[in-house]
Subunit: 224 residues, 2 copies
DNA sequence: AGTTTGATTTAGGTAAACCTAATAAGTAGG
DNA sequence: CCTACTTATTAGGTTTACCTAAATCAAACT
């Protein structure tokens, strides 16, 4: 039996998973602190407690950062699965506006039961991606690897929108309103002012995205 | 703006509401402690903190018990509304077995947003009772008075089942399995062994309920 | 090697919400 | 009126998760 898991612990595990995916290897306490919005000292404290448990969720060494243990990874993926299933459910069944999905899911992900998870998954037909285009980890804790890249990583070309970050509600709202949704085809060019010019589908008008906004969009090469 | 409300505070307010309805007047700390499953000292502590707030949820006086303030009552009814809407939703939309409704609702009632509340209410067509037959408080915090009585309050006669307590899952399961659900007509007689003999509808076989189980069932006079 | 710098950890402290044990306050019975 | 009993409160302590400020470590620079 792994150690007990609170809302706060869940959030640490999720953060370690996310940051560890962004930059493989050990995750630094400072990065965690920034990501979670807490003081670095709080992170050290928590990591020490987590690592000292009988069947720890993390492997931690002073000054060398932290890694998820297999059970920690399983738990983190379970929470991500909850989050994305809930978002999908709110969107599909309860007709939530897309920019309100994240906040509600972020709260509820910690409190739903296995049964709730199972029932909404069944109701939705066991979806594999959420409304933002993010992959939903399977019940067994598998997350299919995705080779998407950031819009800011390319200078120009034609791509398929893979996913859009769910973090920033206003940005999400405007991208959605402009039709920039997962699965749509886009033609990208870098405009003079350092912004990204995006033509959606075969429309003639272009959308101008600032680098900050462009960083929220992930794309796939057009394999046709 | 009323004081901040945590999961624990919510539970205190709900308990004060429930006990205050059962026995009108001030609610004793000891009764609260028993109902909440915490030590009496913890109750005293919490009541003092609650009552000391700027816009308190309760009116409390040493050794004389506690009352809900108008805003406390509003908050308590909001939580009850959440609980009963969630139960209805789990039952109607997610096909939960009836005996699992309470536990899930008890957890989630504290964490859903106004939007979630509004959306499930709409989806369900703004129901006024939950699957156990309990009235759902309105958005404005009104709870229609119901003149139901306990099965144990009568010796015999014909009645309509009003509601069944959601607290004890096994009892609930067996009552449900035997067709004793809100709205059904029952003929009651007191059997020799101090138990309650209940004939459902016009069936000939009777269900024998112990006093403990009978106390979970509320009935209405048959106004025909 | 010595020093600066930035990241990290230790030390000490706060706020909830609970606990137990000891005390005080009301309520009766003699 | 006083003792006994029940009920409620105070006092002091725990755990979780956070904080700030002060130390320490590791890595890079001269």
């Amino acid at each position: 039996m792994p150690q007990r898991s609170t809302e706060s612990v869940d959030n640490y595990l999720k953060a370690i998973l996310t940051l560890g995916e962004r930059q493989p290897g050990r995750v630094a306490s400072n990065a965690l602190a920034a990501h979670l919005g807490v003081a670095p000292a709080s992170v050290t404290n928590m990591l020490q407690k987590l690592a000292a448990a009988a069947a720890p969720f993390v492997e931690y060494e002073r000054h060398r950062g932290v890694l998820l243990s297999p059970s920690g990874r399983r738990r983190a993926l379970e929470i991500v699965r909850h989050h994305r299933l809930i978002e999908t459910f709110l969107y599909e069944v309860l007709d939530y506006p897309i920019e309100e999905l994240h906040e509600e899911a972020e709260r509820l992900e910690h409190f739903i039961s296995e049964r709730f998870e199972e029932r909404i998954a069944a109701k939705l037909g066991h979806p594999t991606t959420d409304p933002h285009g993010h992959a939903i980890p399977s019940l067994e804790g598998e997350m299919p690897p995705r080779s998407s890249m950031c819009l800011t990583d390319v200078s120009e070309g034609t791509f398929i929108v893979d996913s859009i970050s769910d973090r920033d509600a206003p940005t999400l709202r405007s991208l959605q309103a402009n039709g920039l949704t997962p699965g749509t085809k886009v033609r990208v060019t870098r405009s003079p002012s350092d912004s990204y010019s995006v033509r959606i589908g075969r429309s003639t008008t272009a959308l101008d995205l600032s680098p900050e906004v462009a960083r929220e969009v992930r794309i796939l090469p057009l394999t046709k």
